[in-house]
């Protein structure tokens, strides 16, 4: 019997080529009953290794190869829980005190954390000093003299020296294999990764590469044969395996206890807080709610989860006390206790949400509470609060394992094979950049088309290595918001390491690993729209002196539902995308639950599962609301017989295929799990067997299976949709009633959402919103709200009032949308944050020094103002308040920027009139787009309207009145191009003119013929068949023509 104790996985990051689960599966297939994983300075692969071993019944020993200060490697194995804790602490200690990638363990650390660890002598030089140092650090009993055989001459000489030393120092001999890849074929990938690690190519790597392919997993019999002259070294592996009794099953993790006053228990405290909250939330606190809360609290007590709820409640309290908006999402929204504690905002009883989806006795795992927070500084405050509350080593962010995917694999493998930068760019571009890839385009075909010779061995190798590298870990990143906290020291459970972002610490496991091993995670997710809502509320309070309470917004606001039904939703959370807008007029939301459906329905899951159209047809009465199977009627009634939510699919599995709650939960995790294809296949088999047992066969069975499996990647839970729908409703409400505040906030939180700020501004203008330009005397760093100007701004000190060339009149008069929105009593003043290239410190210096009497005064008194910054301010009209127009300012700025020299510095500049002509409207638009990325003046298309009209080209707003099925032409600037993976090669195009947005659909063949024009032209004339599906207007494109307008290039959001 042979047990391999010295195996690295791909989690040694570029130092090995196989995944931990592949290694243990291969080992098991070869007849190994146990194996140790020993990655370099980390335990990142341990959970996967352990879980895979557990599944196949193999024993998974854990260890890590630790880099010492002297550069020597210490292969350490955890003998027991103490050893594992020490190993975690050792790695944490060395990682946290060194810059990323440079961590080494000192002798003192190795000695301090040496208890419970077994040390191998490793692959270093077999010197007495090295061996004796290990004995000194770990004790004679815990050191094994390691011999490896990879059919190399010099290794034999080394082994002989090890044997002599082992005898002399009375150390047991241990045969190991120093595995770097599961199979010998993976040696090539290992070589390529070695080259990547050393930032070189395989051609130049020389002796850094492996000498042969022998570092692969070998069957026990072969290992015994290899060491037949020293059988005791093989026998010792069995002895050591018996000795190591630690597995991740006894991790020792404990969630923190919430401190309560004497005489209270955590549960009594939780009950009291819940009751308090419930009275506030449920108005009135009705019997159904009481019963539900009582049921939930009993289960929480039974499962001993009170502490967890209190800790999340504590976080929400912190947010509330500090004016930070926080809202729970995910399955927590199914819980009335969470609702009462203020963690979530959706009333689960009114919504009839399934509590078991959140917490069930059967599952035996921690519930999952995710908090949405305003992105940016506010979220960071909450994260820092968690660190402060639980200590630097009691809390950490979860890791995000960055794996090789398309482009990264294409680039790194290409570099390793020595392709030049031009070829690398070409290779990387071959990897799909658009969401959708034509199935006819095989990799070989793509390579041939790009001019690569497939008979060249390097290209051939590239193809195979690129494929093999997919999904291998590249490095550890930081998960967007998952935090793990622990009672006591988290670094005894899992190693911690510094994140790239200062002040952040991450654990070495990702969120799936945490879930597998029962570590409780609270997701603190940054949501741009939360920040918009928060800022909007502050602005409304400051300028309109109104306190808007998001928790108690009017439920059935007419303006909100009108806007939604009209698909007038630009800027609104989750319902603003082109796809959402095309669906809204057909779905016609009339109540809150319709928004929940709307949020969930435009997802790859329902679209791939072909659930979108049946639902819309049934909603409009075009189709009968039939159920997949009569037994599923209770589950599907609310969504007209069409499964849309994850919860429904779980219930379907439970009813139709006799799944238990636990099995259904396994199904759910397989759905959202990126490495779960095999699990999904296994589940499908079980689903079919269960349904057959219940007499559901044939077509019905297939349809149910398809419904469930189409959610494999992007299933959307109802509770989550409800939480999002609340935010969507709030954003719609603020946009409809407080447009100035909402627009100001959304402009300040960019980049976010679906549209570029230029589109948001034009949309707001169409709704009657006034904008004011960036002004050196009025603007702040962010965009702000100003009282509505009567005609023009007053000029500041020392200058004469000038016409407001950029102050925007709203397009309200002609706009239908504007009529439904309340007229904005306030204007939005663009902030310095929109001035291209202007640094925040310069803007602050300007604000501190103003008002200015002249350009020279401005230049002399503003510290750090650069030439480019002053020019840019002049170009966008921000200096107009000094007197004159933009070109006057540019003329003056150029003079003020030239150093006068000490002799003339004090002299007053004679003010001469500028000889430059004022900018034309087109020039102003161009300058606006160049300098701020948007214009608050006229839309570029309005400059060309007259000539377009004479050519019979319609405007976007007149499309609605055009005859369905007629051929129409419309022109505009492209604001969005989308080619989603679920759309089978169709391109969705949105173009904007001064009256609104027109949407076009391009068929794959037409896209191929016009690819260049469609993907690059900033202005397009499109011609096609007008489609109008219950108010959702679009053009089926027949012809596209580039319009060569010499005005500005309007930015487009492209999703490809």
């Amino acid at each position: 019997m042979f047990v391999d104790f010295h195996t690295r996985s791909a989690f040694s990051f570029l130092s090995a080529a196989s995944l931990p689960e592949d290694l243990i599966q291969r080992a098991s297939a070869l007849g190994h009953s146990a194996m140790a994983l020993m990655d370099l300075d980390n335990l990142s692969g341990a959970p996967r290794f352990y879980m895979a071993a557990k599944k196949i019944g193999a024993k998974a020993h854990l260890g890590a190869e630790i880099t010492g200060e002297d550069g020597d490697l210490y292969p350490l194995l955890a003998e027991n829980r103490t050893g594992y804790r020490n190993l975690c602490q050792l790695i944490t200690s060395m990682k946290l005190r060194a810059p990323k990638g440079e961590a080494t363990a000192s002798d003192a650390e190795l000695s301090q954390f040496g208890e419970g660890l077994v040390c191998l002598t490793g692959e270093g030089p077999p010197t007495r000093a090295r061996f004796e140092k290990r004995i000194r650090l770990f004790g004679t009993r815990n050191v094994y003299a390691e011999v490896q055989r990879h059919l190399q001459r010099d290794e034999e000489a080394r082994n002989q020296a090890v044997i002599d030393l082992a005898r002399s120092l009375q150390l047991p001999l241990l045969a190991t294999n120093g595995v770097r890849h599961a199979t010998s074929q993976e040696r090539e990938l290992f070589d390529a990764l070695t080259a990547v690690r050393h930032k070189t190519t395989v051609m130049s790597a020389g002796k850094l590469l492996a000498r042969n392919a022998e570092r692969y997993l070998k069957p026990p019999r072969e290992m015994a044969k290899l060491f037949s002259d020293i059988p005791e070294a093989v026998a010792e592996t069995h002895e050591l395996s018996q000795r190591l009794n630690f597995t991740l099953a006894n991790l020792g993790y404990e969630f923190p206890r919430y401190p309560v006053a004497a005489g209270e228990t955590m549960h009594s405290f939780l009950r009291a807080r819940t009751e308090e909250g419930a009275r506030q939330r449920f108005r009135p606190y009705h019997e159904k709610a009481r019963r539900q809360i009582d049921r939930e609290l009993k289960l929480i007590e039974k499962l001993d989860l009170s502490g967890y709820f209190l800790i999340v409640w504590d976080l929400v309290q912190f947010c509330r006390n500090n004016g930070i908006l926080a809202q729970g999402r995910g399955s927590a929204a199914n819980s009335a206790v969470c609702y009462s504690l203020g963690i979530t905002a959706v009333d689960p009883i009114a919504m009839d949400l399934l509590f078991e989806r959140f917490l069930s006795e059967e599952r035996g795992e921690w519930p999952d509470i995710d908090l949405d927070l305003p992105s940016g500084d506010q979220r960071e405050r909450v994260i820092q609060y968690v660190y402060q509350r639980y200590g630097a080593r009691g809390a950490a962010m979860t890791a995000n394992v960055i794996t090789y995917r398309g482009r990264s694999a294409a680039r790194d493998i290409g570099k390793a094979l020595g392709f030049d930068p031009a070829a690398l760019d070409k290779l990387a571009s071959l990897v799909a950049t658009w969401g959708w890839r034509d199935p006819r385009e095989t990799a070989q075909k793509q390579f041939e088309q790009a001019g690569f010779d497939l008979t060249n061995p390097r290209i051939e190798k590239y193809l195979s290595l690129y494929t093999a590298a997919q999904n291998l870990p590249r490095h550890l990143g930081q998960h967007s918001g998952g935090m793990v906290v622990c009672q006591g020291q988290l670094d005894q459970v899992v190693p911690l390491e510094p994140a790239t972002m200062p002040g952040r610490v991450i654990i070495q496991w990702d969120k799936e690993d945490c879930a597998d091993l029962g570590l409780v995670k609270v997701d603190l997710l940054g949501l741009g729209m939360m920040a918009v809502l928060e800022e909007s509320l502050a602005l409304i309070k400051e300028h309109q002196h109104e306190d808007v309470d998001l928790a108690h917004l009017p439920q059935d606001d007419e303006a909100v539902y009108d806007a939604l039904q009209r698909a007038d939703t630009i800027g609104m959370f989750q319902v603003e995308s082109r796809a959402q807008m095309s669906c809204l007029p057909r779905l016609k939301p009339k109540k809150f639950y319709d928004i929940v459906v709307q949020v969930a329905i435009i997802r790859p899951g329902p679209i791939v599962g072909k659930m979108l159209h049946p639902y819309l047809n049934r909603r409009q009465g075009f189709e009968e609301a039939a159920c997949l199977h009569p037994s599923l009627e209770t589950v599907l009634k609310r969504t007209l017989g069409v499964p849309l939510f994850q919860e429904q699919l779980l219930r379907i599995a439970m009813i139709a295929a006799n799944f238990t709650g636990g099995e259904a939960e396994e199904l759910r995790r397989a759905m959202g799990f990126k490495r779960s294809e095999a699990r999904m296949r296994d589940i499908e088999t079980r689903l079919r067997a269960g349904m057959t047992e219940n007499g559901i066969v044939g077509d019905t069975q297939d349809r149910i299976v398809q419904s469930i499996t189409s959610f494999a990647l992007y299933g959307f839970p109802e509770s989550h949709a409800a939480s999002f729908a609340l935010i969507a409703y709030a954003s719609a409400y603020l946009k409809c009633h407080y447009l100035a505040a909402f627009t100001t906030a959304i402009l300040n939180q960019q980049p976010m959402g679906f549209y570029h700020p230029a589109t948001l501004v034009k949309d707001a203008q169409r709704h009657g919103q006034h904008f004011l330009p960036v002004d050196i005397h009025q603007s702040q760093w962010p965009c702000t709200i100003s009282p509505q100007p009567i005609k023009c701004e007053t000029a500041p000190l020392g200058s004469t009032p000038q016409p407001c060339e950029s102050a925007s009149p709203p397009f309200g008069a002609a706009s239908q949308a504007a009529a439904d929105f309340q007229p904005a009593p306030f204007a939005v003043r663009l902030g310095f944050n929109y001035v291209r290239g202007l640094r925040q410190e310069t803007a602050e210096a300007l604000i501190a020094a103003r008002p200015f009497t002249s350009m020279v005064d401005l230049v002399l008194r503003t510290r750090g103002l650069s030439k480019a910054e002053l020019r840019m301010l002049a170009e966008i009209g921000a200096l107009n308040s000094l007197g004159g127009h933009r070109r006057d300012a540019l003329w003056e700025a150029e003079r003020a920027l030239r150093p006068a020299g000490p002799l003339f510095e004090a002299l007053d500049e004679p003010r001469e009139p500028s000889p430059l002509a004022q900018m034309s409207p087109a020039e102003r638009i161009r300058a606006d787009f160049y300098g701020t990325g948007l214009t608050i003046g006229i839309h570029p298309m309005s400059l060309h309207r007259e000539s377009l009209r004479t050519r019979g080209i319609l405007s976007a707003s007149t499309l609605k009145r055009a005859k369905r099925g007629s051929t129409v032409q419309v022109a505009g600037c492209v604001i969005c191009r989308q080619r989603p993976g679920t759309a089978k090669g169709f391109l969705f195009l949105s173009i904007e003119d001064e009256t609104g947005i027109a949407n076009a659909i391009v068929e794959p063949d037409l896209f191929d013929q016009n690819r260049e024009v469609l993907t690059t032209a900033p202005y397009l004339l499109i011609e096609g068949l007008l489609q109008n599906q219950q108010g959702a207007v679009s053009i089926k494109l027949r012809r596209a023509e580039r319009l060569n307008f010499a005005t500005a290039k309007v930015p487009s959001h492209d999703f490809h």
């Binding site: 990879h150 059919l151 190399q152 001459r153 010099d154 034999e156 090539e188 070589d191 395989v202 051609m203 130049s204 020389g206 002796k207 590469l209 000498r211 042969n212 392919a213 022998e214 094979l417 061995p457 390097r458 190798k461 020019r871 002049a874 170009e875 070109r887 540019l890 003329w891 150029e894 003079r895 030239r898 001469e912 000889p915 430059l916 002509a917 900018m919 020039e923 300058a927």
Partner: protein
């Protein structure tokens, strides 16, 4: 007046008018022109005549056919030219300046010409003023005609051919004395020597620039020793390709390398002894490829068989090894030692090696080449 021709054969055409021609680029040539010559200008030529060099260039490059610009007529004829075209045709491009003009709305030369002098000078300095003068057609500068490149060459012809080395070296020494003096005057140094002896020319490339006559002469002497002239010499030419002189910064803490002159002379002597192609430099290759590096070298010295010997064998103790040169029974065996690599290359390797103690008492290295399916005895240990 100055004339500028903008045509593919600009140089030749300009030469027909004047010996003093300034070439702006391969297709643009400027020269001064007399009233009498104006009548000789063919109508078909793209040529402009103006009072200043720059105006002539600007007009020739941007206006078709023959253009005559009388002094004072420049704004009328050139004012419409777009500013970026006009400027790049006479001056190196300056993106920042273009950006400024673009921001100012200055699109043509007449726009630029109209700007106030003082205001422009305040903002764009002398460069701005020059541009404005160009726009107004009053930017003047002298013509910079192309002068011929100096040639560093000395030669002599003899009534009585030279047959001995000493007089030849004496003569070449005198040539070198004169030529290095010329080079010194121009702060140049010697890069390559071209020595023509009768019908044959030899080139002596120097590893470093030098004007050291003694060294150069010694080098010529070595060359003559290695390749003596095959016949009496009636004509000698020595030409030097000039290069920038060598600048060496000595370091206090690095060991001084041999003086390059001495090293070159020594190498010259070695080449003279063993032949030019036989002087090579040793180099270690960074690869595991067998025979290319020193790694995995056994403690014993190894003698390669060139070429290796094909063998028939079953590598087991007691079995026979057979080659054309020798045969024997295997007494002891170690291995296999496996190596493979260069898998991305058209010439990869993949082989096993054994060390065999044969009944003849010698220790051999047996190789199995997996790719060529060959058994070879590669050599023997000393």
């Amino acid at each position: 007046m100055f004339a500028c021709i903008h045509a593919p054969q600009a140089a030749a055409l300009a030469d027909s008018f004047s010996p003093h021609v300034e070439m702006i680029d391969e297709t643009t040539a400027v020269f001064s022109i007399t009233q009498r010559q104006l009548a000789q200008i063919p109508e078909s030529l793209q040529i402009a005549v103006a009072a200043t060099v720059e105006t002539a260039i600007l007009a020739a490059r941007n206006l078709p056919g023959y253009t005559f610009i009388a002094p004072g007529d420049e704004p009328r004829l050139l004012g419409h030219l777009p500013i970026e075209v006009a400027i790049t045709s006479t001056l190196p491009p300056d993106p920042e300046l273009f950006q400024t003009f673009d921001l100012w709305g200055i699109r043509s030369l007449s726009d630029l010409a109209k700007l106030p002098d003082e205001g422009l000078a305040d903002r764009l300095g002398p460069r701005g003023l020059s541009l404005q003068k160009l726009a107004r057609g009053v930017l003047s500068r002298p013509l910079r005609p192309l002068l011929p490149e100096p040639v560093y060459e000395e030669s002599a012809e003899f009534d009585h051919p030279i047959e001995q080395r000493e007089p030849l070296l004496f003569l070449l020494g005198r040539f070198l004395y004169d030529l290095t003096a010329k080079l010194r005057a121009q702060s140049l140094s010697c890069g390559t020597l071209h020595i023509t002896l009768g019908p044959h020319t030899r080139a002596l490339g120097l590893p470093f620039p030098t004007r050291d006559i003694k060294f150069l002469l010694k080098l010529i002497e070595h060359s003559l020793e290695r390749h003596p002239p095959t016949q009496a010499i009636e004509r000698v030419v020595l030409r030097i390709d000039p290069v920038q002189p060598r600048r060496v910064q000595h370091d206090l803490f690095t060991l001084a390398a041999p003086e390059p002159e001495k090293l070159e002379l020594t190498l010259g002597k070695i080449r003279a002894l063993v032949g030019d192609g036989n002087v090579l430099y040793p180099q270690l290759r960074d690869t595991h490829r067998p025979g290319a590096g020193l790694n995995d070298a056994p403690a014993l010295a190894f003698r390669y068989f060139r070429p290796p010997l094909e063998a028939r064998v079953d590598p087991q103790p007691g079995k026979l090894l057979w080659t054309r040169q020798f045969q024997g029974r295997i007494l002891n065996i170690a291995g296999p030692w496996r190596s493979s690599g260069d898998w991305w290359h058209c010439d990869p390797w993949d082989r096993d090696e054994w060390d065999l103690l044969l009944s003849d008492g010698a220790l051999y290295r047996l190789v199995q080449n997996h790719l060529a399916r060959q058994w070879l005895v590669e050599g023997t240990y000393d």
